[in-house]
Symmetry: C2
Subunit: 309 residues, 2 copies
């Protein structure tokens, strides 16, 4: 087997993503040793029980020997966690994360990092609607993009550290993209944050329609609604923090969405079928592009229903 | 094998739903004979080639011997098709459809039906994002609801016809619900029409964000966006007709959605994390109800990604 990319990594937060990084790192040669920490002792205990790595006695103990420290906690909590333990990191080690927002997180990590620690914010575009150490799995990152947002103009040591972290994610099966943090936050506002916001909102709307009982909404959800409830079942703390930490880009994307919706409502009200038909035809083409890019299954209904006969 | 429910049925329109009814009817004892018609001769030829039934020489020929005629075409086209052939139907036969809107369709079917033909509008809550006779399959209706909207106060013959049509759908694996057409249109506006409208809209918004290339939207679509593109890939003609024929209920549901979105945007702008957290936590509960009701898979990511290890 190829030599693991890192000797020792520390995972701070062993939820869905942290536990998947731990599993994948061991299984695919990402790291020889995995040290775990979680502020919730029951979660940490469960992760140890699952054999995901060695539980540390404290957060500072977890990071002390690590060549790379992965903060796998909600983005609103990363700053404080990094501030509390980055001082205990080895010189030359990598300080990274897996958060869905990069601008604010990059700022917080840099503020926390001592001289000689390489701050390289990261974001694997992977996940499910489930949470916790039992929900993770080693193949979660296979074929998925991982975006790194290194700072511009680093020295040779820093660039080598970025290459090494990229190699780690590739070892886990990811394709790696380097991007400016601001651009990341804008792109993800559209491809991820706005869709989640809309999903949360429509679930709330459906629930609040007093004239229709919740029973009926649930009962007939296979008509389309159920698709939205999946992403609306994602971790509430994580998503609260995403919206609070990418406020501007999300509100900008939301404004455009609302403008488009106003135009669409007008077309329906005016009975303008051609506008609707053209828009719907165009949307079909985008779906096709996503399947061709290997970013979703071509199986009807995501392949979830009974099989074709 | 149990005796089929009908001797002969006619399927007008052999797309995803029509071809699935044809397949399921033959395979599961819905009908002994299936007669097919489609205004597109290539589609009709393909359906015959697939062995889905006997292609008719004309629409009136298709319905002449049928005990039940299923209009499986976009809701905006049902009125004209029924008007063109209902006069050729046998007395005592059932005139039904599979459209996603019931109020306007019920009105059109009743206007077209001669004395002695039983009009029973129907809507199987089943489908995929694909279209055409090759996309259909016999198990499409298994475990799915089928809503019938019979008229109130029919005579004994009519009630017997409704029971028979219900039996047909049950034979195909559906659970049958009877409902007033107006209520159907209101419930489906929330569980189906609004979600599709929102999905179409967000796909358009993502495409139009000039500052982000389409390449990036597609590339990073696994972060949430791809979920929306699936239902936005549904048949454009079908959906144009749904919005034009259920205008009032859709605009009512959309208004509520927009009000909720305004409140959500305000919470983000004000940094009110508690409002967000409570809303997101609530949404998770609705997802759970849908899974418990057997209306979606519990597998993470709809089970579409690589398997758990």
């Amino acid at each position: 087997m190829t030599k693991p990319v890192f000797d020792t990594i520390a995972i701070i937060g062993v939820g869905l993503i942290g536990s998947s990084v731990a599993r994948a790192a061991k299984e695919k040669g990402g790291a020889t040793n995995v040290v775990l920490w979680d502020q919730n002792s029951a979660t940490l205990g469960r992760a140890a029980e699952l054999g995901l790595g060695k539980p540390a006695a404290s957060m500072t103990a977890a990071v002390a020997d690590a060549d790379a420290v992965f903060h796998c906690i909600p983005v609103g909590a990363i700053g404080a966690a990094a501030a509390a333990c980055a001082g205990a990191m080895k010189p030359g080690a990598i300080l990274t994360d897996v958060g869905s927002v990069k601008g604010n997180v990059a700022r917080d990590l840099r503020a926390a990092a001592p001289q000689g620690v390489h701050v390289i914010p990261g974001h694997p575009i992977a996940g499910t609607e489930n949470s916790g150490p039992d929900a993770g799995f080693a193949s979660l990152f296979e074929g998925r993009w991982c975006i790194l947002t290194p700072e511009a103009g680093g020295d040779a040591d820093y660039l080598a550290a970025v290459d090494r972290l990229a190699e780690f994610w590739q070892r886990l099966g990811s394709r790696v993209e380097r991007m400016d943090a601001t651009r990341h936050d804008l792109v993800l506002a559209i491809t991820s944050h706005l869709p989640h916001l809309i999903a949360y909102n429509i679930v709330a709307t459906a629930h609040d329609m007093e004239s229709v009982t919740e029973g009926e909404v649930v009962k007939f959800s296979a008509a389309g609604f159920r698709d939205f409830t999946r992403i609306a079942a994602s971790d509430p703390t994580m998503w609260r923090d995403v919206f609070l930490n990418n406020r501007e880009a999300v509100i900008e994307a939301l404004g455009r969405f609302e403008d488009d919706l106003t135009a669409l409502r007008k077309a329906i009200r005016n009975g303008d079928g051609d506008i609707l038909f053209d828009l719907f035809t165009h949307a079909r083409g985008i779906r096709r592009s996503i399947i061709e890019a290997g970013q979703d299954t071509a199986a009807p209904n995501f392949g979830r229903d009974t099989k074709k006969t």
